[in-house]
């Protein structure tokens, strides 16, 4: 994947967001008067973002316009990306299920799913680790840290 194209798109997006920060007064609500004002620093930073994003975008756009081949860090290799998307999916499922089925029930399934994704096929140690680890974390958090991880609510 050609990073220079992403540079142009991302920089354009950041410039649009920065222009909105510059012009929209509705992004701040309430607050007391101060010498600085609530939006002074955000607008200053937005201005700097416009400058730096434009610099990156112009540099990348020039190279694209010249038709030069991407080299070095300008090439994004996409090998193995499918695994990353699956992992994100597993994590979202984890976030979604824990409040309903609880930490102790959801975690072993998630650990087994991640182990499978990483190529694990030694079932007995994987299942043992996936059951023992959450139990240790759950009771360790409860007894030593006084942190109560979510429990079954269904």
């Amino acid at each position: 994947m050609d990073r220079r194209k992403i540079d142009v798109v991302l920089s354009t997006f950041l410039i649009i967001v920065s222009v909105i920060i510059f012009t929209n007064d509705g992004l701040v609500e309430g607050g007391a008067e101060s010498d600085l004002g609530s939006m002074f620093l955000p607008r200053l930073v937005a201005g700097l973002i416009i400058i730096f994003a434009a610099t990156i975008s112009i540099q990348s756009f020039r190279k694209l316009a010249k038709g030069t081949q991407p080299e070095g860090q300008e090439i994004i290799t996409t090998n193995g990306f499918s695994g990353v998307f699956i992992y994100i999916g597993i994590f979202i499922a984890y976030w979604f299920t824990v409040p309903h089925v609880g930490f102790l029930v959801a975690t072993p399934f998630i650990m087994i799913a991640v182990a499978l994704l990483l190529g694990g096929r030694n079932w007995v140690p994987i299942i043992a680790t996936s059951v023992i680890t959450p139990v240790l974390i759950y009771y360790g958090s409860k007894e030593f840290l006084r942190v109560y991880l979510p429990t079954w609510t269904l």
Binding site: R3, I6, D7, L10, L14, V28, E29, G30, G31, A32, D35, L36, S38, F40, L41, P42, V45, I49, F52, A53, T55, I56, Q73, N79, G80, F81, G83, V84, Y87, I88, F91, I92, Y94, W95, V98, P99, T107, I110, M111, I112, V114, A115, L116, L117, L118, G119, G120, I126, T129, T133, P134, I137, S141, F144, L145, R146, V147, Y148, L149, P150
Partner: protein, 504 residues
């Protein structure tokens, strides 16, 4: 000062802090030695577990994880030629050559002794320099602090990024995210879009784990089809090849001292980090060595130079953080977050407001080195075995620790969403050449900038020229310009070097 140091040792020599240090060293070496897990990842995962203990125990434990994690990185570098961090690249070159020659014990010993020596020297410099330097920085008022912070942003952004605009853009994005939520000065709600959950801003721990730790897990997942490499300590029939003799250590001691000095100096400058220190020290050691041709092919002196400089950065990177509130690198930024969570605000006042705690932490720094030496020396085989665990046992546990760590911070499921969002963002930033560590530094320092800028505006009123009345302002402006130009020159040089290489 010496009274404070003795008082610090008294506080640290108790059961709790010592157990914390031992646990930190064991966790640090184990995590550091596992390919794909860096010291910063280990600290971020352990951080939430320290919230509920005394700051002396919690902070010293984190520092022990840091120091031991940096050393642990050299184990995988030496045994399987997989440097955990860029700074261990040179150690891997010489160390792995020794491993292939059956002298892994010698390489591991040298790496350990050089690491501990470098760390101890830097810690002594930290203890002796930080408090007196804080007295000078106490003289700075809000105007000077504004320029100091702008200097820090400029230096870190320009030195640490892939290119200057990308580094500075990373910093600006961190600053922008720091301004989400209720303004600490005016009480106004900024960028909350009506969501009350955003009033408190983004929770630091899930954001930190997401930006700095989880993208490393993504990298491991992407490389999941690469076969697992088993670590093994090679043994030579000649016992002298399996250890470092006192004579050998003495012969490289001057190199260790010089490299530790280089590492200490570079670590104290914001934005440069341990890789720069290791490369400069290695180059200098090679230049002045009697056997320069051995470098890169199994030189014990080369390991000593790289490891002592690399580890000296640990102690000295705390100098700008503790005296000026400026974290010099990603680990210092993370540790600054840990200090803040524990109710200690890094900066010159810390030496007056939390004297006992800070000197106890310093004493813990020194004691950690001794424990690192003892534990690593006696447990090489154990750590190698632990680090050889297959990734499908390690990374499911990392996933659960990241989840628990993010939840523990606020005991709120919304923080898991923050973790997921910043994980994707942190990985995306890496792909497009933005620097997540600079992002975090921008995030941490922005509240200080806004507070000091507001105070400075109250002082100058409409006489804006007063901003430039102090010589400090001009010094920091000049330093910022100097660093940006020198960074531009460095980047131009490094860009033209491969081209020259190709032409040749």
């Amino acid at each position: 000062m010496f009274d404070n140091i003795i008082s610090g040792f008294t506080s640290i020599l108790a059961v709790g802090p010592i157990l914390g240090i031992i646990a930190g060293v064991v966790i640090g070496i184990t995590f550091g030695a596992i390919p794909g897990i860096s010291a910063i990842m280990a600290i971020a995962i352990i951080l939430p577990m320290t919230f509920y203990v005394d700051p002396i125990i919690g902070i010293t434990m984190l520092l022990a994880v840091y120091k031991a994690g940096i050393y642990g990185g050299s184990i995988s570098a030496i045994l399987i030629n997989t440097p955990g961090a860029a700074a261990s690249f040179l150690t891997a070159q010489d160390g792995h050559a020794l491993t292939k020659a059956g002298k892994a014990g010698k390489a591991l010993d040298m790496s350990l002794f050089a690491s501990v020596s470098g760390e101890m020297l830097a810690t002594l410099v930290l203890i002796l320099v930080a408090a007196p330097f804080s007295l000078i920085s106490l003289q700075a008022g809000p105007i000077e602090k504004v320029f100091l912070l702008l200097f820090a942003f400029t230096v870190i952004g320009s030195m640490a990024g892939e290119s200057i605009p990308r580094g500075l853009l990373s910093c600006c994005l961190g600053m922008l995210f720091a301004m989400v939520g209720m303004s600490s000065i005016t009480g106004a709600a900024r960028f909350t879009f009506g969501y009350t959950e955003l009033m408190g801003g983004f929770t630091f721990t899930p954001m930190l784990i997401g930006i700095l730790v989880m993208p490393e897990v993504f990298n491991v997942i992407r490389k999941r089809k690469i076969p697992h490499q088993e670590m093994m300590i090679t043994h030579s029939p000649n016992p002298a090849d399996n250890r470092i003799s006192f004579k050998e250590f003495r012969s490289v001691f001057s190199t260790i001292l010089k490299s530790s000095g280089i590492g200490t100096f570079i670590g104290a400058l914001p934005g440069l980090g341990s890789s720069t220190a290791a490369f400069i020290a290695y180059g200098e050691a090679k230049r002045t060595s009697k056997k320069p041709k051995e470098y890169g092919k199994g030189s014990v002196e080369g390991i000593a130079a790289a490891e002592s400089a690399n580890n000296a950065v640990c102690g000295s990177s705390m100098i700008p953080m503790l005296t000026l509130s400026i974290p010099g690198d990603d680990v210092a930024a993370l540790l600054m977050g840990a200090f803040l969570i524990h109710g200690l605000t890094p900066g010159p006042m810390i030496f007056f407001e939390h004297t006992e705690t800070i000197y106890a932490i310093f004493a813990g720094f020194l004691i950690t080195d001794l424990f690192l030496l003892g534990i690593a020396r006696s447990g090489f085989k154990f750590f190698v075995k632990m680090a050889s665990l297959r990734r499908y046992y390690i990374f499911p546990c990392v996933t659960v620790f990241a989840f628990t760590g993010a939840f523990t911070a606020g005991q709120n499921m919304d923080d898991i969403l923050v973790l997921i969002a910043f994980t994707v963002m942190g990985y995306g930033m890496r792909l497009v050449g933005l620097n997540p560590a600079v992002f975090i530094i921008g995030f941490i320092l922005t509240p200080f900038l806004e507070q000091n800028l507001d105070q400075a505006m109250s002082i100058v009123g409409t006489d804006y020229h007063l901003f430039f009345a102090s010589p400090f302002s001009w010094v920091f402006i000049a330093l910022s310009v100097f660093f940006v130009f020198s960074s531009m020159r460095m980047k131009q040089k490094s860009a033209s070097a491969p081209l020259q290489g190709k032409a040749a």
